[in-house]
């Protein structure tokens, strides 16, 4: 699927989704302590990176320096090979998608007008805008009948979907999301988190995502940057953050000792692979019963544990959706995985099916 014409791609001021923070600091005028303190960070193109931290940690400030809503006091931010300070500010912003917690839809514009704001700023052709809007509605799971509705006729979850569609409108390489789901109820939040994962796998955008919700960070992130008092404390994958926390702050924040959380980060698949590497005789020793429940290799170990406990079975049969049996998984395996250091994180995109 192509998302925008090549014509619009060529006129862009940046061509990359790679972001580099180079010793970035920000001190607000009225304050003495820096909000962001010498942060250096590299975000690979196409990654979903979560800025995680308590309020006042500087995570939002750090993100807002990317579309220059704030200017750094010192340090540089690069997108690809471009120092963003050298770029025309509105050109830069028009090609970075921006989603905020309060959504900020324009109440006097229809859904269609809202979504097409940036394409209209960029003088796209009418036909091109129309087809783009239709595509985005489809992508964000909104019915076409919503085109002529106004924001206050939509629910909170629907509004944020429109917000997301609006941010994606001009096919940006980079998406900034400032606690986008924090104001939603639990059901809608979970639904939109899953949709975001699906979109991220499908669209290949670099996403910077600010949150104070650890669960959300662990669920969504390719890498997590933990901030406190404006300083970058640790920048790692979710699994490394949980298993190799740099200090007690991280330990407490992500719940290193929380067994369920550790289990939820590991896929069944990685257990099967570990078994393959080790001795395979054990498996044949076990009496296989057809009554044992089956589980998909894409599920995580937390699900496996709960299934083991609820079914009372000694083991689970790991089966792909096609019916191919991959192996067995028992309580012993779970214990082993927890003690071993060879945890393989579940591949986020694998579990996404269209």
């Amino acid at each position: 699927m192509t998302y925008a014409s090549s014509k619009t791609k060529e006129s862009r001021v940046t061509q990359s989704g790679e972001i580099l923070f180079e010793d970035v600091s920000k001190t607000f005028e009225s304050e003495e302590v820096p909000a962001v303190d010498s942060v250096s960070l590299q975000v690979a193109a196409g990654d979903l990176v979560v800025f995680l931290g308590p309020s006042g940690s500087g995570k939002t400030t750090l993100m807002k320096m990317v579309n220059r809503l704030y200017e750094p006091t010192s340090g540089k931010i690069w997108i690809g090979n471009e120092d963003i300070q050298s770029l025309p500010i509105n050109d830069l912003r028009r090609q970075i998608g921006y989603v905020i917690q309060q959504v900020g839809l324009f109440p006097h514009m229809t859904v269609k007008k809202n979504i097409s704001v940036v394409p209209r700023l960029l003088d796209w052709e009418k036909d091109q805008i129309q087809s783009r809007v239709n595509m985005l509605l489809d992508l964000t799971g909104l019915p076409e009948t919503y085109l002529e509705r106004y924001p206050n006729q939509l629910s909170g979850g629907e509004q944020q979907r429109v917000g997301l569609a609006r941010a994606l409108a001009a096919d940006p390489d980079i998406l900034l999301m400032d606690e986008p789901f924090a104001a939603l109820d639990a059901i809608n939040r979970e639904r939109l988190q899953k949709e975001l994962l699906r979109l991220h796998c499908k669209l290949d955008k670099t996403i910077l995502f600010v949150t104070h919700d650890v669960e959300e960070a662990l669920l969504l992130a390719d890498k997590i940057a933990v901030l406190r008092d404006g300083k970058l404390i640790q920048y790692d994958t979710p699994i490394d953050l949980v298993t190799k926390p740099k200090n007690s702050f991280i330990e407490e924040l992500v719940g290193t000792n929380n067994i369920l959380r550790r289990l939820s980060l590991v896929s069944i698949n990685s257990v099967i692979k570990a078994q393959e590497r080790g001795s395979s005789e054990e498996i044949t020793d076990i009496q296989i019963s057809d009554a044992a429940p089956t589980i998909s290799p894409d599920e995580d170990l937390r699900t496996a544990l709960s299934l083991l406990l609820s079914s009372g079975s000694d083991y689970l049969r790991v089966e792909e959706s096609s019916g191919t049996e991959l192996g067995l998984i028992s309580m012993e395996d779970l214990k082993e995985m927890l003690s071993s250091n060879q945890l393989i994180e579940k591949k986020k995109c694998d579990e996404i099916s269209d």
Binding site: N67, L69, I89, N90, D91, L92, R93, R94, Q95, Y98, I100, Q101, Q102, V103, G104, L105, F106, P107, H108, V117, V118, L121, R149, Y150, P151, N152, Q153, R166, L176
Partner: protein, 212 residues
């Protein structure tokens, strides 16, 4: 009633004069007040002093204000327009400013973050969203100008006040009644007309279906 029927030409002429005075005042009030409101919305520290001055101006009794301006502008419509425009600023700027500053900050942040320039933000977002409050200001300016404008007849500015003053001097109650009736008709019509626009603008920003 008889006076009104017999002098319909005169009353009509004064009516139009009054309307003209009101529209001229509204024109100048908007030219000054709209940019002033935008400036105050941007520069918060200016709000206190400027609104204070406008408030003080508003408390000057109209007759003395008109008379004070005669040495500078002479008799006629000019001092009336100046005084009424000065009064209008408080009503216009206060409402317009409320409209501008009560826009959801998230909406403005989104507009900025999406790369709208200052002008684009103003015309595409701020103006339409603050328009209902601007129209409230416009309505108040028109109504107060119609009302205070009657007094301007005292300094030769014409308008329906002429009937009132002449009626009082000659103790012609029919004349007074005709003048008062005409002013009332003018006020009610203006109020109703502007109210309609207000409601339309209000509906537009609250997203109900607008009839085009």
């Amino acid at each position: 009633m008889r006076y009104l029927i017999n002098n319909l030409d005169l009353v009509g002429e004064l009516f139009l004069e009054h309307l003209q005075l009101t529209l001229i005042v509204l024109f100048f009030a908007l030219i000054i007040g709209v940019p002033l409101g935008v400036a105050l919305a941007r520069l918060k520290w200016l709000q206190g002093p400027v609104m204070g001055v406008l408030g003080i101006i508003y408390t000057i009794p109209s007759l003395s204000f008109f008379v004070l301006l005669i040495p500078i502008f002479g008799l006629g419509t000019t001092p009336a327009i100046v005084a009424l425009t000065a009064y209008a600023q408080l009503l216009l700027v206060r409402n317009w400013l409320v409209g501008l500053t009560s826009i959801n900050p998230a909406v403005l942040e989104a507009a900025r973050g999406m790369g709208m320039s200052g002008w684009q933000r103003f015309w595409q977002v701020e103006f339409p969203l603050a328009l209902p409050m601007l129209l409230v200001g416009v309505r108040l300016v028109v109504l107060s100008s119609i009302g205070i404008g009657t007094i301007a007849a005292f300094i030769n500015a014409g308008g329906l006040g002429v009937l009132l003053f002449e009626g009082v001097i000659t103790a012609n109650y029919n004349k007074i009644f005709s003048g008062a009736l005409a002013v009332t008709v003018l006020s009610l019509t203006a109020n109703y007309g502007i109210r309609t626009f207000e409601q339309r603008a209000e509906r537009a920003i609250h997203g109900a279906q607008v009839n085009h």
